[in-house]
Amino acid sequence: MILRGAVLALVLVTALLVQTVVAPAAAVAGIVPDLVVLTVLALGLLEGPGTGLRYGFAAGLVVDLLASGETILGTSALVFLLVGYAAGAARPYLAANELLGQTLASAVGSAAVVLLSRLLEVVLGVDGPDLVSLLLEAVGAAAWAVLLAAPLLLLLRGVLTSLPDQPQAN
């Protein structure tokens, strides 16, 4: 169990590093693929809601800590844990066509992260993009998810199945 936790933590740290160093270079129309969110969603979809929310919270907290001072600490943690949990909770309903369903769920989850984050910013009185830019950002995040979710899910599934102790669906 400890090994599993350590590997998943390493996966998240790698996703964060790739996100900060490589992903910005891949921006299309200013929209950068969010690999951290995709990893959280993948963990939820593959391991269940408990894993999704735990790693979502941890990843979101690190993202908040590394973000500029204008970002309020805890906002990404809250949004990521909610989508991580939701992804895990949706898992039983995606069994019929697993990879396609998971890819679509990742797209919806990525767009939801953009919209929920903005909603929280509005509640907290933080300036942000206008509605059109926000919707474009959400669509862009979903498009990136459609492109990247399947390879990421397959990669993570390979890593997880090679680990010794598989958890029960939580």
């Binding site: 160093v21 270079a25 993202v63 973000a67 939580n170």
Partner: protein
């Protein structure tokens, strides 16, 4: 069933923790311990990020090239001749030459502006920032302070918003929260420039009827307590929107390619504009030597415009 209940309990607990964190950070603002924790996180994460960046930089360049396939195709014809010359050279030499040229341009810019700067390599972009900030590998040990201007060879990149001993966070001009006092180089009309992410900057001239045309250059303008040097190139006007209305603004295409930042310079010695007049240096007019009040109505209009100018810039974040 037990697992599901456990997940829900965890959901409630983590949600509560997140809400407590949000409340604390929201109430404490920039002065709270959360800022210190953030700085600590940057101190810990930056070296890891720097090491990772050194290893995967070629991958980043490759990814960037894929993202620009469309424009690369357009440039293909023009680059063919240059490519023929480069085929005889090793790729590593070509890369070194590119870096060399970039650094030489930076040095030329510094010498031209007579500024003292600290050169820095761009390490990466914090997650979730969507092109608003970057981390650079120079910090307080090299004299970097919050508010200092950051340049590339083509012009202003942004300003330092946070500095640790060895690293600094730079808010880019593209950030939606970036506000800069600027002027049109051709006619000195002043205005406020706003970042709009990947879209061109939005420039609002203080005089809504002022002349400004596509192709005009936009440069920085030093204003109250600003540490941004005067006259730094920012970009050129490409389009006018809302002409003839009170919501007229101009779109400005930046000179700097913010997706391809690799080296920048932090300006260490920009002369700081005073926030107000020094009362000790104010010269009082002698008795009986007061100048006559202006009688020309045109002059009065000009005075009003100056007053408007002051009001409009008073709220600007930087200048």
């Amino acid at each position: 069933m037990a697992d599901r209940r456990r997940s829900r309990t965890l959901l409630a607990v983590f949600t509560l923790v997140a809400l407590v964190l949000i409340t604390i950070d929201y109430r404490l603002g920039d002065d709270g311990f959360t800022s210190a924790v953030r700085r600590g996180a940057v101190v810990v994460f930056s070296p890891v990020q720097e090491g990772f960046a050194a290893v995967v930089r070629p991958v980043g360049s490759f990814v960037a090239a894929i993202g620009e396939l469309g424009s690369l195709r357009e440039q293909n014809t023009a680059l063919e001749a240059e490519l023929n010359e480069l085929t005889e050279q090793l790729p590593s030499v070509a890369n070194l030459e590119r870096e060399n040229a970039e650094l030489r341009e930076l040095l030329e810019m510094r010498e031209r502006l007579e500024l003292t700067t600290s050169a820095a390599r761009v390490i990466g972009q914090p997650p979730g920032e969507q092109g608003s900030t970057v981390l650079v590998d120079t910090g307080a040990d090299q004299g970097v302070e919050v508010g200092m201007a950051v340049l590339s060879a083509r012009g202003l990149v942004g300003k330092v918003t946070e500095a640790t001993a060895s690293h600094a966070r730079v808010e880019l001009l593209t950030s939606p929260s970036a506000r800069y006092a600027v002027r049109v180089a051709e006619n000195a009309e002043t205005g406020l420039l706003r970042g709009q992410g990947a879209d061109p900057f939005q420039l609002e001239l203080l005089d809504p009827e002022a002349d400004a045309e596509p192709g005009d250059e936009v440069v920085t303008r030093t204003f109250q307590a600003s540490t941004i040097p005067d006259g730094l190139p920012i970009g050129e006007i490409i389009e006018e929107q809302g002409a003839g209305t009170s919501e007229r603004f101009l779109l400005v295409r930046p000179y700097v390619d913010f997706r391809r930042l690799s080296f920048v310079q932090v300006v260490l010695d920009a002369p700081e504009a005073p926030a107000d007049l020094d009362p000790d240096e104010v010269v009082e007019p002698e008795e009986g030597e007061r100048p006559d009040p202006p009688s020309d109505p045109d002059d009065e209009d000009a005075d009003d415009e100056d007053a408007d100018d002051e009001d409009a810039n008073g709220g600007a974040e930087d200048e």
